[in-house]
Subunit: 395 residues, 2 copies
């Protein structure tokens, strides 16, 4: 029997699967209730407006006259049009036929590489969410990591003189929370144009961007000639359990828009009509207000976590563009060790920075996607930690 | 910019996209209302029991206490357990952790090949639904077609002496409607075991199997050592617009069950909770009765179509295991030509057999997934055809 040998190049289990295992083990050992600040999943429910529209969509499926069969593989026009309008409202020109509805960003980070073909040279700006890199490794691509660091705000500068086919950038970044400035993003766009690369821009956290920072890769000049933007409804609209996202492939980025349509023909039958109606609802006035409320809620959560870290004198990345807080372990303790310590001593589950590829070692990520009482309880437990104890253990 | 060169090996557009274009063109030219017997999409609505459960699932998403975030990547236990039970009721042992919930069979026919890796030698028994073959071509695999014919009931015998890594079999077959006998399937299973191949068994039409024919590849001895079974809720349960299916990977088929779990870790975030609740409902008593009713309805449709073809003295594959009727063009006319003739003269859209890879040329496929009045109208229009005219044109 033949196997994809590239599986052997992956870590034995996916970072979030590993975490789930550790949490399960800890649960067995008993102790305080575990608060899971690890995975970026949601606890707060779906928006009312989405639930209402989805129930109507279910009803439409009940009778022959309004029943919907196969969705258009590229997504329903009603949703692609709404997304196009959203870009236009932000002074970015994206046509409905440049928008592809997907079942979420995670799958899309890997599916997209079938457009580029095998043996692509792919650059990842790290630390970052590992799914895209693992998908590339499985596909047999030549994957290179370029790490950001505290010094450069976790976004490195382009490696002038080197050439890659594809460059993955995630901003606002998961896990660091850093958001590219127009200037930095402009550097990368120019580098991509100059070297003939395509940027795959993971924009899953775009609604968290505050102030004068790019909310889309296309807000930088000429990005529509070299960038594909992958987005999600998951984090912004409470959609983790619904599976709906979108990808923008401008017709001005080589042949990829045409190839994506051909790819859909044989590889995909589209996304549930009901999910798409739920997604459409978030573009209503009520939906937009709910997004704002939710984003503010998560950001306040993040601020509460930061205060606790500050009191503990732990370094954290002080950005305002993200539902995550990225912090440094004390006394140079390894991140795996510190995360295990936290879980054992405080029953707080946080994500090991080392799971986010190069540049993540020595850091850990806290998710703010939790009800307020869990965040307050987390802050309490964090402040109980005796960092001296860790220093002693680590001597 | 780098492109996947394998796109050039595919037909310029996918067979069903081509058809949609021809139908749109014909519409512009006017004439009788077009009846689309081309694509295997449904017109009859979703089952009541599924709609009801899905609405309840939507309501659960509304409040924090019952809200569901990321689904388990392999599917919810409640659904995997139901599917496992269904196999066990048919005396086939499939454990819940051998069942993977997917967003449908089409994507899965291609996704699965990431387990085998690149440069796999893949055999397709043709004619067959082309998505799996196109996915393999895009992935750069070495694809071989082995055609069935009228003489062997559209299922060829194994090519003893040759060796393939993967063998795709679709039974009941789309488009021919033929169903493998236990004996023929046993030959293929033994061949696969002997040559170390894996069978990918496309079982999307399993509910249409009548009488003493295999309803699953695993009803043949030792298939659980060499076969992966891909199934769908689409055709059986009215799910084309919902996107839910499942794949069975027994733990006894090499390492594939473990690899699939690892694949899910980085490539997929699972299937909508709401879709899975809708799928679960079809395993209820009411759901099962509805399946029976629906299957009988479509089979009667197929019989009506056959009578019309018989009156027209056209050869058709006289099987009872399928919602499709596979018929031969008259006077050796090419299938593309005959399908265009039908669309032009009778406003009936049927699928060109040549779109189903080798062995399909000279045949056309009629779908019975239509309301009764459309099927009766189709029969009427078919009987109006003057085959003599075609013979003259073709001289």
């Amino acid at each position: 029997m033949k196997y994809n040998e590239n599986f052997e190049k992956l870590p034995k289990s996916y970072v979030f699967s590993q975490m789930a295992q550790k949490i399960a083990d800890k649960k067995k050992r008993g102790g305080e209730r575990i608060i899971n600040l690890g995975i970026g999943d949601l606890k707060l429910p779906l928006f009312e407006c989405s639930v209402n529209q989805m129930k109507i969509a279910c009803e439409e499926m009940r009778i022959e006259k309004t029943f919907k069969g196969y969705p258009p593989a590229e997504g329903y026009e009603f949703l692609r049009q709404k997304i196009s309008n959203e870009y236009i409202d932000n002074f970015i020109s994206v046509a409905p036929d440049e928008v592809f509805i997907t079942d979420g960003a995670k799958g899309q980070l890997g599916n997209i590489l079938e457009l580029f073909g095998q043996k692509s040279r792919v650059l990842f700006l790290t630390p970052c969410y590992p799914a895209g890199a693992e998908a590339n490794i499985l596909y047999g691509n030549e994957v290179t990591f370029l790490s950001g660091s505290q010094e450069n705000g976790f976004f490195p500068s382009p490696p002038y003189g080197e050439k890659y086919d594809v460059i993955y950038i995630c901003s606002p970044n998961n896990p660091t929370g850093s958001c590219m400035t127009y200037e930095k993003l402009g550097e990368w766009v120019n580098y991509a144009l100059f070297s003939g690369s395509v940027i795959v821009y993971d924009n899953a956290y775009s609604v968290f961007v505050s102030g004068d920072f790019p909310k889309s890769v296309y807000s930088v000049k000429n990005a529509n000639k070299c960038a594909i933007e992958i987005n999600s409804f998951s984090k912004s609209f409470g959609f983790t359990g619904i599976r709906c996202g979108f990808t923008v492939i401008p017709k001005s980025v080589g042949e990829y828009n045409r190839l994506q349509k051909r790819w859909l023909g044989c590889r995909c039958n589209g996304v549930s009509y009901i999910s798409q109606r739920g997604a459409e609802a978030v573009f209503s006035r009520i939906g937009r207000e709910e997004v704002k409320r939710r984003v503010n809620f998560y950001k306040t959560n993040a601020e509460i976590l930061k205060i606790a870290l500050k009191n503990l004198k732990l370094w954290y990345n002080n950005t305002v563009h993200s539902p995550y807080v990225f912090a440094k372990t004390p006394h140079g303790v390894s991140s795996t060790e510190f995360c295990e310590y936290l879980l054992e001593k405080t029953s707080l589950a946080v994500t090991d920075g080392a799971g986010f590829l190069t540049g993540g070692e020595g850091y850990f990520r806290l998710s703010a996607f939790l009800p307020r009482e869990d965040i307050l309880e987390t802050a309490d437990r964090l402040e109980r930690i005796d960092l001296g104890e860790i220093a002693t253990q680590n001597r």
